[in-house]
Amino acid sequence: MRKLLLALLFTGLATGVFAQQTQKTLKKVYVSKLFTCSLDLMLDTLAKDYHLKFVFERDSISKYHVVDHFLNESLKNVLDQVCSNNHLHYWVESDKIYILENTDDLARLKKMDMLWTAAAATHLTPVELPKSPPKNFNFSVSGKVIDQSTGESLPAATVRVLNTPLSFSTGADGLFVFFNVPADTCVVEASYSGYQTYRFRLDAEKIKNSITVEMLPALNTLNEITILGKKSGVMNTDAKKVGVLQLTPASLDKLPNMGEKDVLKAFQLMPGVSGTNESSSGAYVRGGTPDQNLVVFDGFTVYQVDHLYGFFGAFNANAVKDVQLYKGGFSAKYGGRLSSVTEITGKDGNAKQATFGVDLSLLSLNVFAETPVNDKSSLLLAFRRSYQGPLYDKIFKQFNATTIPATGSGGGGGFGGGGGGGFGQQVTPASHFYDADARYTYHLNTNNTLALSFYTGTDKTDNSRDLPSFNSSIISNSITDYTKYGNLSGSLKWSSVWGKNVHSNTYVTYSSYFNDRNRTNSGVNYVSGNDVAFSNGTVETNDLKDFSAKTEWDWQISNTLKLLYGGFATHQQINYEYTQNDTNKLISQHNKTFLGGGYAEIEYDPTGKLHIQPGMRTTWFQETGKQYFEPRFSASYTLNDHFTLKAATGQFYQFINQVTRQDVLNGNRNFWVISDGSTIPVGMARHYMGGASYENDQFLINVEGYYKTLSGLTQYTIKQQGFGPGSGNATIEQAFYTGQGNAKGIEVLLQKKLGQYTGWLSYTLANTQNKFAVYGNSYYPADQDVTHEFKSINMYHYDRWNFSAVFIFSTGHPYTVPLSSYTITGADGNKTTAFNVGAKNAERLPNYHRLDLSATYDLLKINGNKTGSIGLSLFNVYNHKNIWYREYQVQNYQVITTDVTYLGFTPNLTLSLRW
């Protein structure tokens, strides 16, 4: 019995190596042979001739007949052709080639094969025993985990030295290091979501240099993973860390999507992130607002994270490798935001072979290409653009009430308004969004890599048009009316490995944000024999420029001690102008500031069970001339294989604020402003979070609680003065209200990780309140406060089909009601009607709920690799009218209440192709 187990163990150990060898054999071996037999016999022949192991069900495979003459064909081509002719798939895993009638058969074949192997174990030669007795003891070894097919480094992969407590989770660069490895005959295992687990034996040669661990993708349709604690699937939580979520962009097509796989929207399905804000892709994390969430993409801060009024995230999932969301109490490595951090790592580009992809939906076209440029560098290009089909129009109209007359009747009026009659047919103005990613990675040598990353995205709505001349003196007359906002960002990253246990990433980054609105009526007027040019209207521009440099160091001192440290410097520049009639600048702000500082953090594992992580971050902020200190601490304690306790706390500052100017007609506008320490204070938050998790190979139960205090919160309003006819009189004045708040809550997550059915249930009980003097002296529910939120995400995999159902229920958002109205006459004799406004956010909108469904059919290559998919998504299936907000308008002294709703039932089709 013991012998049998030993034999099994060794077979297992050698599998990874053999999988690669088998892949190579398929390409290298050439077949010249005539086959006229049943398929099972042909496979037997091949197995014998080329020392291969085929696994198949003889009963079913013997039905297929092969009559083919191969002349110097690679074995891979032979298999491709034979399987293709018979509508079969093959799949290479471990040292075996599985012949599948149906991709779901793999699990069954594997089990079957295991039984056969066990029965025949005594006849197997034990594989890959140590070649010699160990020569090296207690040495250190380092390396990198990469994808064998693309050369991409794999972040958050788990590397273990078997039969020792040594275990390492790779960082964004895929690097790992072990100290005190007992002997150079130990076996190392690498595992990562969506990849075949890879094991190899160390030897005296290997440990001399950095080891590159190349992992092969798992059969796409597999949900089955048999090792405890493995990450798999769409959403992964690290049971040992508090408030961390990881997302695999490649798995996003298994969820319902509204036109684009959306990494930011996917987070909204997870516990602790509000899922009911259809008008924002930004994350409302644990009572925080989107501007309190730091979004970092390849080292640069992203200031505009959505397209189309928040309905879509600004990041192209095809250009993204990995996304991590830190829901609070995060590491000292990150700072400058009060609530949370979203870190997005872009793909490097395929260093092995050129690949291309196209995604087409009712909303947009998305294309990408990855290619090695030479043996040292690779390139990734991704681009997507919306097109104004019915789906785009439907979403656009949901968030923007602007319409223009289909014909040029009447002219001049400009804003037809929702349902404004008299203009005949109303059409949506020309509008689109696009974004582009480019990344060039250059390996200077084995230890130094440079990566140049570029990202840009823009939303533009253009309503400009020529007006018909309604007066003989007007020679030309046109309206310029556009809104344009977006980002332009780039970074140069230098990754360096300084010996086995120190590595660093140094970045020089540029990130800009702009938000421009121009509504001007201009033309030429013929007055008294002269042409007089005229231009009236408003131009509003906000632009932000962020130049930063930062360096992040990672020093693994021993197996139990790691030091993280680094420094940063940022120059920010914000311009905000509101100009009227060309010359009259109502708001003109030009601010510049400098921020600089550093951080240090220790990760210490005094015992195998306890992990503590104290850190400190400090920032000097030019505007206030003060130094800010942010202590951080997190810890986890593993009770046993299944239970973990964890906690985190910290202090956080925010020096820049996003303010929203509500504009019902044209969609809300967002602006960034720099804190000045007085009217716009520096925001400060303290987090206290704790939790416990239970995890086995099937399920994960995670319970976390949090309490946060916030001060120096800012709200913004523009006050308009003067009510004269025409716009010439209006002056505006901006006002900032400051206040404080707190947030607390409990999140419960139950996740089923394995099997054909996977998914999770998430429940959050939360309370978020603010106190702003302008609304009184008491706390009131914050705008984003939701008491109960329940989410059920269900995914079912059957053969090549993936079905999913997402149900979201939440308490309605709080809102303010007018209790009554009154009318008084001003000194000019004009009457104004005002509301007696009820307590701030005292009422609740009706509960929000919706069901989304999707079905995806995978297109597979003969060798089982995925080549694309066809998907159907249904959003808000039962067409529930979820209310966004209520609108109170005074018409003839009467107050008319209108419900403004979110999107109703909307279907979408997607087609994805890869080659």
């Binding site: 001049g412 007066n471 007007i474 033309g523 007055v527 231009s535 009227q580 009639n581 060309d582 010359t583 009259n584 239970f643 019902v664 416990a692 239970y694 319970v703 609680g705 309490y707 309003t717 006050k719 003065q721 003067g722 009510f723 004269g724 006819p725 025409g726 716009s727 010439g728 009189n729 002056t731 004045e733 607390k744 809550g745 409990i746 002296n777 008491s778 706390y779 705008d783 809102y815 303010t816 007018p818 209790l819 009554s820 109205s821 009154y822 009318t823 000194a827 000019d828 004009n830 009607t833 005002a834 509301f835 406004v837 009820g838 307590a839 907000y885 609108e887 109170y888 003839n892 009467q894």
Partner: protein, 263 residues
């Protein structure tokens, strides 16, 4: 088992923390039964205080129902007088010498158990209010040049006091262009504590005779004027008022008037 106990204790503790922190304060709201006051005190004119009830949201009446039968008092610091209800809901005091520059006037009455009060200071009369031209000419039908400065109004304001310019149509009926016909005749402009105002064609929707009234006003009136009535439930805000236990305005002001023609 021990571990399960641990977890349940943690959950219970967390729940207790959350729930205990959920006790709600009720932020101050204003009752819908509070009265609405409209009163502008100007020297040389009788004191007029109009009292209304608030309206329900679906009410189509212009004003709320009159509040009648009140004992309304006004005091100038030394003398307290009771106003008489001249017509329903309109309370007056006709002694034209009562209102003088520099005095503080306080309004007081009891309504449904509320002690309703307000006070205001009578500002001085505007000084040296002059116009560059007696009138302006607007080329009818042109959307252009409405931003061009056509006339300068100026006055003395060394202390940067609040002034409002009221444009009041006297016999202006001819619309400036085809879009003007639904625009109000009168308007008012906050001059932002300046001592001049550059007039453009914008305030004028009609051609004809106007009065340009320069009002020296108090901050409470500016607050009301600055109010930007919001209509979205995400953004509703109480309109500022200087009335305690009520809504509306009780403010003193002084005027200087020029005649002005727009052709």
């Amino acid at each position: 088992m021990v571990i399960k106990k641990h977890i349940s204790i943690i959950i219970i503790l967390l729940t207790v923390t959350i729930l205990s922190a959920c006790t709600k304060d009720n932020p101050d709201t204003k009752s819908t039964t509070l009265p609405v006051i409209e009163s502008y005190l100007m020297p040389g004119q009788p004191v007029v205080v109009k009292l209304y009830q608030q309206k329900s949201l679906t009410d189509t009446a212009v004003y709320g129902a009159h509040i009648t039968g009140m004992k309304v008092y006004i005091s100038d610091g030394s003398q307290k007088v009771q106003l008489t209800e001249s017509t329903s809901g309109v309370y007056t005091y006709t002694n034209l010498t009562f209102l003088v520059t520099g005095k503080t006037y306080s309004l007081q009455f009891n309504y449904l158990g509320y002690n309703v009060t307000a006070s205001t200071v009578m500002p001085a009369k505007p000084v040296n209010f002059v116009s560059q031209y007696p009138g302006i000419t607007i080329v009818s039908g042109t959307p252009g040049n409405r931003g061009t400065v056509l006339n300068l109004f100026s006055w003395s304001n060394p202390d940067s006091l609040n002034h409002v310019l009221v444009i009041k149509g006297v016999s202006a009926t001819v619309p400036v262009n085809s879009f003007s016909s639904d625009k109000p005749l009168n308007s008012q402009i906050n001059t932002n504590r300046a001592s001049y105002y550059n007039l453009t064609a914008s305030p004028f929707a009609y051609l004809g005779a106007y009065q340009i009234i320069l009002l020296r006003v108090n901050q409470e009136y500016i607050n009301l004027l600055n109010n930007n009535t919001r209509t979205s439930s995400q953004d509703l805000n109480q309109v500022p008022t200087n009335i305690v236990n009520g809504f509306g305005i009780f403010t003193a002001m002084q005027a200087d008037t020029l005649n002005f023609t727009v052709l």
